[in-house]
Symmetry: C2
Subunit: 271 residues, 2 copies
Amino acid sequence: MDEDILYHLDLGTKTHNLPAMFGDVKFVCVRGSSNRMKAFEDMQDICTGTDRYCMYKTGPVLSINHGMGIPSISIMLHELIKLLYYAKCYDVTIIRIGTSGGIGIEPGSIVITDTAVDSFFKPQFEQIILDTVVTQNTELDKELAEELLKCSKEVPDFPTLIGHTMCTYDFYEGQGRLDGALCSFSNEKKLDYLQRAYKTGIRNIEMESSVFAAMCGLCGLKAAVVCVTLLNRLECDQINLPREVLLEYQQHPQKLISIFIKKRLGRYNPK
Amino acid sequence: MDEDILYHLDLGTKTHNLPAMFGDVKFVCVRGSSNRMKAFEDMQDICTGTDRYCMYKTGPVLSINHGMGIPSISIMLHELIKLLYYAKCYDVTIIRIGTSGGIGIEPGSIVITDTAVDSFFKPQFEQIILDTVVTQNTELDKELAEELLKCSKEVPDFPTLIGHTMCTYDFYEGQGRLDGALCSFSNEKKLDYLQRAYKTGIRNIEMESSVFAAMCGLCGLKAAVVCVTLLNRLECDQINLPREVLLEYQQHPQKLISIFIKKRLGRYNPK
């Protein structure tokens, strides 16, 4: 192509010098919400001409939000991966930092995902390409997960564990919630489902990890998913934490990733 | 439930007087992007405590953005439908105003959806509930579509038609684009797929209509999907319109809906 327009990022190969802007990127942090991102880094948004996504850069660390759900994060990943390619970046580590519902673990815990699984507990992502269903691998980088778990020893305030993460297309019925506008099953069916999920090693549920693992795997990016749990789904469906607790929980994965990046850059000074 | 927290809207039945705030709502306009919404109505965002969604109200018209993709719009719809229920709203018409890729029609045209179809051209939405796949109906309100088509005669600047809309989970490979970070098929396969789609009556492709049609249908809301097409996918994959043309095209469905609402309210004065 003569020119490639990264439409949803409002960037392009002719309008922007991508190697100069992004060539030194070594870490990409992706998050659902843009507010949470601004709280993390007080910077100028790079994607100024669109409100689809926001992007901030601090030295070798690029932060982008991805909205909610598989389709939204997949659009961002396609354009981000093209951006990293055009910018001639190499040795890039990409981490999704998010919130999730926990299963059988204490709210505020962090789950580092080893494998993303679908609603049927299968370690795969089904991608529809033209009218064919293609099954993709959803394993994440094992060494990176272990390195992150090691970093978590530096933050004793909250438990961190490695486990499977279930990735769904729906927040309500698709995650066994009884409190949506529609609900077609009983509390017993819900608990049976979540307990079966727990038995297969699933420790949290969110909505982006499977396509994230699949695409990063196919494109050779070392990837991790690090999510805090906001509730224990065996106990409730509603997120009714006081705002200050919610904000504090959302800081947990950011604290961990901050230590990880500082260690990698040789700039970590434990207090 | 004693209290229902509409988490992603930052509203709740105990913290907000929903009947007083929303009881008079008769029209809900839903859009992907919040910027486009602000351009339409210069108002105070109601969902102040979250950046997941923005919401604006002008008399009986409520506007909300839904992000990109089926999961993102479905979270919003669950919470919006609960909100309308708690606020005791009745006779509500809900319209998704969006952008899309056209098939075999001139860019800038408006497609009013009669039925949303999936990637296999089937008029259905497959919802995963616990570990069961449930098939839901995706037909939209026929009378409302005809009423909107009639309103389009008042705006002769751009062609408007009724057709099927294909709803996909992915913007790149899932819509037969060759320009994503990954592509596993040829231009011939792409064109064959899009031409077969055209032959079944599909005139545009977007990423939210199927779950929107299914949920609104199940909850008894009269619903329409009105999208402008930004390109003809039989000719290209990239959205490379000059910014002013893009902004003008995005106004097309808004102009149509504005006439529709004014007519319904008996306030339409053709110039």
